[in-house]
């Protein structure tokens, strides 16, 4: 009984706000992810992503992340496949500042996200011979509607640089919750998620402005 009481007390303490003279509502912050944008420029898939975060007492941070993910994989050198998709996505969730010194210039976040995207896939390969019958074979689908729900666990840091400017980064662990991927098998790049099945870990590097 004593242990159960101590555990419940610790849980309440985790969710309770520190008692001090700082007000509950501490403002908004907007941020932009540079990792996804760099991926977009340097590889054949990536995403532009921004976020709006509410600061509650420097402890709890409800957040909405909105982005636009895109893949344009042209003529794979080995398989000859082309894969194209582009769609918006969003995540909603909350972060908790784990540092004891809540109101300082640094923050260590742990958080959860729910994410969703609805996207269409174009898939094609130039005609190729059937390996047995040798007939020319065409392969592809166009505008195949798909959707993806997933959850993320986030761990991140945030440091004040000067004035309202912060820099921060986070590591995300992702798990698919539900999906609809058409009749053609699996999708490859999922907007906001990354390459399905293999990109279970990802990172962000954010430029953050308090507003």
């Amino acid at each position: 009984m004593l242990l159960v009481g101590q555990s419940a007390s610790a849980q309440l303490k985790f969710f309770a706000l520190q008692k001090d003279s700082i007000p509950l509502f501490r403002g908004f912050a907007v941020s932009f992810d540079l990792v996804g944008a760099a991926m977009m420029q340097l590889s054949d898939y990536g995403q532009y992503e921004g976020a709006l975060r509410i600061n509650l007492h420097d402890e709890w941070f409800p957040i909405v992340e909105v982005g636009y993910g895109k893949a344009n994989h042209e003529d794979d050198p080995v398989t000859g496949l082309r894969y194209k998709t582009a769609a918006p996505y969003f995540r909603v969730g909350i972060d908790k500042n784990l540092l004891k010194q809540k109101h300082g210039p640094y923050r260590l976040y742990a958080g959860l996200r729910y994410a969703y995207t609805s996207y269409k896939v174009d898939l094609a390969r130039d005609n190729f011979p059937d390996p047995v019958w040798q007939w020319d074979t065409s392969f592809g689908v166009k505008d195949e509607p798909c959707s993806y729900h997933w959850a993320e666990v986030a761990l991140g840091v945030d440091a004040k640089v000067f004035g309202p400017f912060h820099l921060g980064w986070s590591v995300r662990y992702k798990r698919r919750i539900a999906h609809k991927e058409g009749n053609f098998g699996k999708t490859w790049y999922v907007p906001g998620f990354g390459v399905s099945d293999s990109d279970l870990l990802s990172g962000t590097f954010n430029v953050i402005i308090d507003i």
Binding site: L81, L123, F184
Partner: protein, 158 residues
């Protein structure tokens, strides 16, 4: 706290992508040879299966004997496969033609994996010189080699 950046660096490094193409990636039709009572039957006559294409007749199965099951390839994207089953017994050849209608479904795993097709078998017709009957048991053809698609009932050679 000082170890956190090291942990995060390791986590990012282990996030490298991998290629996850299926190891068993052959799409083929599975046949089981059956007695009239439905029990398993080993072929007593040798069975050769050929098809037709522009540059000749490829042999899909060559002189199979004493086996009770076999698999045959299926065309990627042709509405109907035409197969010739030739049974040979004591130097006497008897042939049957089998027409298998199907729908072809493009199947994609990843841009790293070769294009393939799954199939939905819609109809089968055949001549009855050596084949007593050919019964479709499962219509969907994919990587699964354990699913039997047809039961082949040969006529008795005795």
């Amino acid at each position: 706290m000082k170890r956190l950046p090291i942990f995060l660096l390791i986590a990012l490094l282990t996030a490298c992508s991998s290629i996850d193409c299926p190891v068993q990636n052959v799409v083929s039709v599975q046949y089981a040879v059956r007695n009239s009572d439905g029990t398993s039957l080993s072929l007593k006559d040798s069975l050769t299966v050929t098809s037709t294409r522009q540059d000749g007749d490829p042999v899909l199965l060559n002189r199979l004997i004493s086996k009770d099951a076999f698999s045959l390839p299926i065309s990627y994207s042709h509405p109907e496969d035409v197969l010739v089953f030739t049974f040979k017994h004591n130097n006497e050849k008897v042939s049957d033609t089998v027409w298998i209608k199907k729908e072809d479904i493009p199947h994609f795993e990843s841009v790293d994996c070769n294009a393939s097709f799954f199939h939905n078998l819609t109809d089968v017709r055949y001549t009855r010189n050596a084949i007593d009957s050919l019964v479709m048991k499962n219509s969907f053809v994919d990587y699964d080699r354990n699913t039997i698609h047809f039961h082949l009932y040969p006529k008795s050679s005795d």
